[in-house]
């Protein structure tokens, strides 16, 4: 069994709602985290991301001006000055299937639908720490490998050409969002 030394991790929390930031801060500190920086909008979060170089980003989706989806897209710029590979956990009140797909295609690593639970958050953090996914760069996408199982029969528009089927077998983001943990 593995545990995480949270006191060695640096988090960036981005949520416009002060109550949810307080909840997240409380959960992370209870897990053992000491460094959790907070931003109340995407633009501030992006500045803090470059400045503090967090290990893990936890962001809300719906925020004024510059939302969590745009934040993920800005972080996932392969030529950016900052680290484009940091795990991004999208914590959101959105609860529709298509939102999971949109978040995944923006480069989000994990998706956690509210209401938040300590177990759900811990499992997402454990997964990004213990099972990092390779990154894929195509003309239209840069982010964690979106394939979660092998399907040689897939003939959709984004079928990759070449390469082996080296798949890190995991439940899909949608299945995990549905299960809540």
């Amino acid at each position: 069994m593995f545990r995480i030394d949270f006191n060695k991790l640096r988090f960036l929390i981005c949520d416009d709602n002060p109550h949810m930031r307080r909840i997240l801060r409380t959960l992370l500190h209870s897990f053992g985290a000491r460094e959790a920086y907070e931003a109340e909008d995407g633009a501030t979060a992006l500045e803090m991301y470059t400045h503090y170089v967090p290990d893990i980003v936890i962001t809300d989706w719906a925020m004024p001006i510059f939302d969590g989806l745009e934040l993920a897209q800005m972080i996932r710029q392969p030529e950016a000055k900052g680290n484009p590979y940091a795990p991004i956990i999208m914590l959101t009140g959105h609860s529709e299937k298509r939102r999971v797909t949109v978040a995944r295609d923006a480069g989000v690593t994990e998706f956690l639908a509210k209401p938040i639970s300590a177990k759900g958050l811990y499992q997402r953090i454990l997964n990004v720490v213990a099972n990092p996914r390779p990154f894929i760069k195509t003309k239209t996408y840069f982010g964690p490998d979106r394939r979660r199982n092998t399907n040689a029969a897939y003939i959709g528009p984004e079928r990759r050409v070449g390469g082996e089927f080296e798949i890190l077998q995991q439940p899909s983001l949608l299945d995990k969002a549905r299960s809540g943990v």
């Binding site: 949810m20 209870s30 009140g93 509210k114 209401p115 300590a118 990004v128 720490v129 990092p132 760069k137």
Partner: protein, 191 residues
């Protein structure tokens, strides 16, 4: 603990690249015995319950924000900033209410979010439909200690959701992408 780009390995294929690197966060993983008594999740749940004395006040603040957003719409109409603020206020309640112990308020807020997202023209939504949603959220929160939550609050939220869904299905009959989204089951974890 930031990534060192020098460690990154890139395999190039016809139309994509696969980028791998040594796990930069591996150093924070620690193996413990299976019978290790430390339970970080239980610790966090306990800390969360320590905050619960503040949840009622937090919900009151969220409800005030929703009412203010609605008042701005009554005064100035569904401008984009006003519409967005009403959506965010309802959306925050949808996401937070169950955590704060007001799950039925979250269900009503979800129904309101669906109206805002899927009505083709918000200005043509019967004003009573929106008003009833906001009044219901206020009632559930303000009368929290008086209402029998299981019966009255749940029935209220389910009825409003039923009326809203019926309306949304009617006004979106020729918009299949919205109909599909309206009919799709929620992925939010159950209580």
């Amino acid at each position: 603990m930031a990534n060192k780009r020098a460690d990154i390995e890139v395999k190039k294929y016809t139309d994509h690249q696969v980028i791998t690197q040594p796990n930069p966060l591996r150093a924070v993983l620690r193996r413990v015995a299976d019978d290790d008594i430390d339970d970080p999740v239980a610790r966090a749940e306990q800390a969360l319950s320590g905050l619960s004395g503040e949840f009622k006040q937090w919900m009151e603040i969220e409800v005030e924000r929703l009412a203010a957003a609605h008042a701005a719409i009554i005064k100035g109409g569904f401008t984009k900033p006003a519409r967005d603020e009403l959506f965010r206020a309802a959306h925050d309640i949808k996401g937070d209410a169950a955590t704060f112990g007001f799950a039925p308020a979250g269900m009503v807020a979800e129904s309101l979010c669906r109206i805002i997202e899927h009505a083709p023209d918000l200005a043509r939504v019967p004003s009573d439909l929106i008003v009833h949603h906001i009044n219901a959220i206020q009632a559930i929160v303000h009368e929290h200690t008086k209402l029998d939550r299981i019966s009255i609050s749940n029935e209220l939220s389910q009825r409003l959701r039923g009326v809203a869904d019926k309306y949304l299905a009617r006004v979106n009959h020729d918009r299949p992408e919205h109909l599909e989204a309206i009919m799709a089951p929620s992925i939010a974890p159950a209580d």
